[in-house]
Homo-oligomer: 344 residues x 2
């Protein structure tokens, strides 16, 4: 069996750690592995399959001999190093937003558009976490009934903003009675001017604002969904909200279909979809929740209801671990799909 | 100036306490006041405008001589005692769901349909908290542009489930590292079979489920909105979710209008509406959040955006204190509106 020389760029981050764990757990065919980070983290030790590795400072030469480089160290790092890795023969699977909307770069969720991988020119982009779980849930409905319009409101976990945001939620949560005056430095955006407490709060801002009043996170969901689903005419609207949840993004999705299936047909389509678990039994209070989805691989869908006014409209509640399927697992699955399709 | 004999039924609850505070704060023309509760709470002392009152056990005779009775002690208590109060000449303003959809009972938000109060036959219903703030935000758009369709996803605070739910969130939040295994007895519904931790979680169930897969909370938002706005043809869909927030409900609202105003016209209409505060300046990260709205009277609206595909579609983020405008304040405002309209 063929094995590969793998590098993880951003090995100390929340997603980088998950990438390492997914490679171990899925027994990815690794020949050699290399853990890269900024000079600040270089020198730290990391365990992989029982062996100890030292994290190296990323340099262009670091990618010599690498077959697959998994990137998750921020957009500017990807812009700097991904071309260097490609120049040296690696395929870069990039979890940042740097190249996602680049027409030359496939944006891939293996359950939805694995065929796009073959078009790559060295870089394959991993979509935004909140986009991935939504398109996994909606792809079976697109295939069977066609999609017309999506309106999504998100309930996003702080781990999407990194380990610092998790620590801030933890320290803020310890002082229940002074939540309003809690010290805040990380959210909604570390580099933004104003910071707000997340404990016992809901912040309707993820990433910075664009000129049209939508945030970049909302525009990512809108634009990436159209690109992944190859449908520029699909209407997509998003409102993205950060919650005091550690890990696990939830989404309230309203979707209008081209067809008008029954609610049971919609449930069956979702139950049959790869990577998706139907978890929908209101009589027994069965529906997905982030606290239960954290650490799991699948996209969980429940609360499926037909709209009361529009027989082509359906409401879904979609939950998944934003670090796993929303990031690290999807990146590793892209690599696996390349192997399966004999593209690498 | 005419003054009134007032009773608060359910005086020890989260909403009952707010009703008392609103009467004090707004200097409601009280002649006498009486605090009623179950036998369990009877005998407790309560302060009102510097005087101490003893909470009395509610009995039918308790309402002799009462002009206005504010009820917030649960639906079955309202069913039992509201007719007794009416029989004795009181007007009941009921904050439970017991009579809201009764065709004989006006369901009133004073900013929206004060004229309905005159139709009362002794009972006036106060709408559900999540309905009130939404209709306050949408009424100016209805008046100026007409409403066609509403899709709302809620982000609701635990105080809507009572003081016990607040205490449970507090105790669960203290153990950040064991959130998944936290003891849960109150949410989503105290009397339901299964309970789930709310700290660091999001529970897509508020109230029990109806046969159509929607919860009662969702059906309240749908049916009450149509009744308050006098429009059975208005399409309304709701997904209601409980969050680890103490007080302050947030709502992501997508609305389709009959007209197609500019986003600035929509913002102006909302800024001009009574009881509503426009809080919408993305460049300066100004938008409402529950932690900041808690304790305030108004309905706050921000993140107003035109839909990118439908010029008649708009997205809004609506936040208000669920115990204040969502319950106690609205009840007191109904009483004030009766006085203004010379109905009492």
């Amino acid at each position: 069996m063929k094995t590969y020389n793998v590098a993880i760029m951003g090995a100390t981050g929340a997603v980088g750690q998950q990438m390492k764990e997914q490679l171990e757990k899925r027994d990815f065919p690794v020949n050699t592995i290399k853990f890269l980070a900024s000079s600040r983290s270089a020198g730290q030790q990391i365990e992989f399959k029982g062996n100890t590795y030292t994290i190296e400072e990323a340099k262009p030469e670091s990618f010599e001999g690498i077959d697959i480089a998994l990137f998750s160290a921020g957009g500017s790092i990807s812009e700097q190093f991904a071309p260097e890795a490609v120049k040296r023969g690696a395929v870069v699977i990039d979890n940042t937003s740097a190249f996602r909307m680049d027409a030359e770069v496939p944006l891939v969720v293996p359950e939805v558009n694995p065929e796009d991988i073959a078009q790559h020119k060295g870089i394959i982009a991993n979509p935004n976490c909140s986009t991935i779980q939504m398109v996994c849930a909606l792809q079976p409905l697109k295939e069977q009934y066609g999609l017309r319009k999506i309106v999504v409101s998100t309930y996003q976990a702080v781990s999407g903003a990194g380990i610092g945001a998790i620590n801030e939620l933890k320290s803020q949560s310890a002082d229940f009675d002074n939540a309003k005056d809690a010290e805040a430095k990380m959210l909604p955006v570390k580099s933004a001017e104003h910071h707000y407490p997340i404990a016992f709060n809901a912040i309707p801002q993820i990433d910075k604002f664009t000129d049209n009043g939508y945030t970049y996170e909302e525009m990512k969901m809108i634009n990436e969904t159209k690109k992944i689903m190859h449908d520029d005419r699909l209407a997509v609207a998003a409102t993205c909200v950060r919650l005091p949840v550690v890990t696990g993004h939830s989404e309230s999705v309203y979707v209008e279909l081209e067809g008008a299936p029954t609610v049971d047909e919609v449930k069956q389509a979702i139950a049959d979809a790869p990577g998706v678990v139907l978890m929908d039994d209101p009589a027994n209070q069965v529906y997905p929740m982030p606290l239960m989805a954290a650490g799991l691989d699948e996209v969980f869908v429940g609360r499926i209801r037909q709209d009361l006014d529009n027989p082509q409209g359906f409401h879904l509640w979609v939950v998944s671990d934003n670090l796993v399927k929303g990031a690290a697992l999807n990146s590793v699955q892209i690599a696996e799909s390349m192997i399966e399709q004999n593209i690498i």
